[in-house]
Amino acid sequence: MQANGSTTPKRRKERPLEGVRVVDFTWVRAGPWAARWLATLGAEVIKVEWPENMDMIRLNRFTVPPGVEPGPNSTAQFADTNAGKLGLTVNVRHPKGLEAIKSLIGVSDVVIENFSSRIMSRWGLGYEELRQIRPDVVYVSMAGFGQTGRQHYFGTMGPAAQALSGLTHLSGLPGEQPAGWGWSYLDDTGGMYGAMCVLTALQHRNRTGQGQHVDLSQMITGITLIGSAFLDKTVNGRDSRRVGYPPGNRTVWPGAPVMNNYRGPIAAPHNAYRTLGGGYNDWCVIACLSDEEWTKLVDLMGSPAWATDGKFATLDGRLEHQDEMDQGIEKWAITLGKYELADKCQASGVRAMPVQSSEDRVERDPQLRHREMFTKVKHPMLGDWKFQSAPFQYDGVKVPVKGPPPLIGEHTTKIMGDLLGVSRDELLQGFEEGVYWPETTPKFDYVQRSIDDEAKR
């Protein structure tokens, strides 16, 4: 079969956002993830940091590989979240630092930040101030509750935002407390929204010449992902605190009234089944979205007596007898490895996929390997390190990350000197006065070297 698009890939010379400069004040995950995608699309993203109040992901001790000296430049989670950016250290609470950052914004297109609401204004870096310097600046704020509204000062990390948005309650088994999301989904998706806001506002600027302020709320982002439940409440008055909700991996919990539980079409079977080995992630999901798909599954299982009973022939019957059906399917599933099971099902026209761990995705997933999901890039501390590529191709060409993440302060002298034209003497004085590096914090070798190089100029 031929693909839907271009059959003769042409390698694009450049990434689409080349020429766009972004001043990135973000930290932790949601904000940096937003700016990471702008960098991957080709923007020059300058991450602004201050070593005394470091991005806490730089200190994430869980992702320092053994044998690598721990430190703010050694964490793998920071690396992938900030790939392709440049690193600037400047103290925006020092008058000279504030002046420096303002001159940087004067030659930039985008400012993005995810501090608590209104912090940037307190530093003299609010939208109203910055549009004086750069009238068409695109300025995206990513606070938990946004910049407006009576609770704008409420703070959120991913899990709290997920709880408040309604997302947490969507996940779990009926009668148990919510299982929730096992990661900060609203940091990943909040990051997506941050990037979307920047790109959308750039579209507006390209067409009208006008910049703007975009006031994004991480928590509200979550609510927009639950539209069916929202309308079921406002239109039908239905509460989601109800019997059989949330229905685990099923579309309807056995014994509960048959109604849509907001995952798409009602279907059965629709569940996770244990597979051969019985290990922690030895599970496979199977979903039959029609009677025809169910019949194919019955054939594939070898038409066992239980499955050919007429009570399973219709969706209503399968929903009514789900427990018995799921037990029968699992007896068969447990005899096969999860990949083998999924492949057999798919070959027979039955929807099935393995539950994949992180290790599975990196080591065993043939599709991700084929599509070059992980690209090795040289990192000063981590060595040849795998970074996650974009999940799309332009004209048949994969879009890997633009480069490694910045060491903290790695590009300060370059940005201040080459880009902003700060003189050698001013720059050296700034380092002495705590404008570009805290006076009391020891300097990394590469920072000292960059200062020494500057002095020799």
Binding site: M1, N4, G5, L41, T63, P65, T148, R150, G155, A160, A163, L164, T168, L170, S171, L173, E176, Q177, A179, W181, G182, Y185, D188, Y193, M196, A201, Q203, H204, N206, G211, Q212, L216, I220, I223, L225, F230, L231, T234, V235, N260, R263, G264, W283, C284, V285, Q346, G349, M353, Q356, S358, R361, V362, L368, H370, R371, Q388, P391, F392, Q393, Y394
Partner: protein, 423 residues
Amino acid sequence: MTVSQPGNEMPGPLAGLRVLELTGEHAQFCGKLMADLGADVIKIEPPGGQETRNVGPFLDDEPGPERSLYFWHYNTSKRGITLDITTQEGQEVFRKLAATAGLVLESFPAGYLPGLGLGYESLAKDNPSLIMCSVTPFGQDGPWRDYQTSDLLHLAAGGQMASSGYDFEDVPDAPPIAPGGGNAWHIASHYAYIGIMGALYHRDFTGEGQYIDVSAHEACSLTTEGAIAIYLSTGEVVRRHTGRHASVDMSPGIQHTTKDGGHINTTRSGSNLTPARVKVLGEWMDGYGLAQDLLDDKYQDPAVVEESGQHFADVLKNFFANMPLVEAYEGGQELNFPWGAVRTMEEIIGDPHLEDREFFVPVEHPELGREFTYPGAAAIYNASPWRISRRAPLIGEHNQEILGDEFGLSKDELEALKKSGAI
């Protein structure tokens, strides 16, 4: 507090972009995002309507293609036509539309459109600046390309399920849990949107169109936060925990039950405190007679605070067990503790903070003579507003407006198309 929303007459940020949307569950959300931001999104459905119209919940629980709340939500601000692109007449009309479009958004199986002579290369001949974005389960090539999927299947293969579920002591032998809401397609749609915006930016400066091939599987695989980085750096696989991050080790519980049977999620409930913060917490809890020993002088010693994390978590657990949910959550937030109540729509609809942001949007359904409240924008654009410009289209609602008034098909031509079943 008032929201500085710009006037309703201002165009959205994507005004002027015409999109042809041929997609159901895979990427209809991407189309909605663009339509609510001002793009002219024309949804092209097969005659009789798209199958997503049969997905519930339904208005008053009565199924029907014009009664799907699911379809309503995902198709706001779009216009709709019917067109059978498997017929020659339908293909001619589609080519005409594509020649004037800025973007074609589609999610047919790989090879389907070229099989009809409507692949990107063919459409771009008449419109070199055309951008086409295909959103499919696995992309246009690779060993899994033709595998059939669903939301559940993507959450399994993408890694969401391997991270979500319960601690053994909470629910013994629980399976990995796929969170609800249809989020695999949201994740795919968000990345599709980003890819499209990149291509639009490129076109603004070069005039060149291009073809974008989005894989829902890759998008999902990118969406498990640190799970991949943890594996790459330690070789270890995360384990599922109730209501909090999956992790390699056992972490303290952060989801607590409140007096009224609700749940509160406290990011790092007992840890990361300082003596000053213990005092703030203790004084507040003392007002309810639930501070236990938090006001004891010993907690003014940072070293004691450091080693008392589990104790603080226990004190908090008892506090929450004696407090109503909303009072506990809002009280904590007022003191700068970033806690979150596990809310459902019952608490969310009518939330005054959301009202301040004009999040609840009335949308008219003139054919029903009714108005319903829809979820609004996560982001307020101060120069080019997000807005729902109309409810989802009825089947073929804009056939005359688009094909007749805008593309100049005559009454007879439209009638012939109708007769042949092409619209």
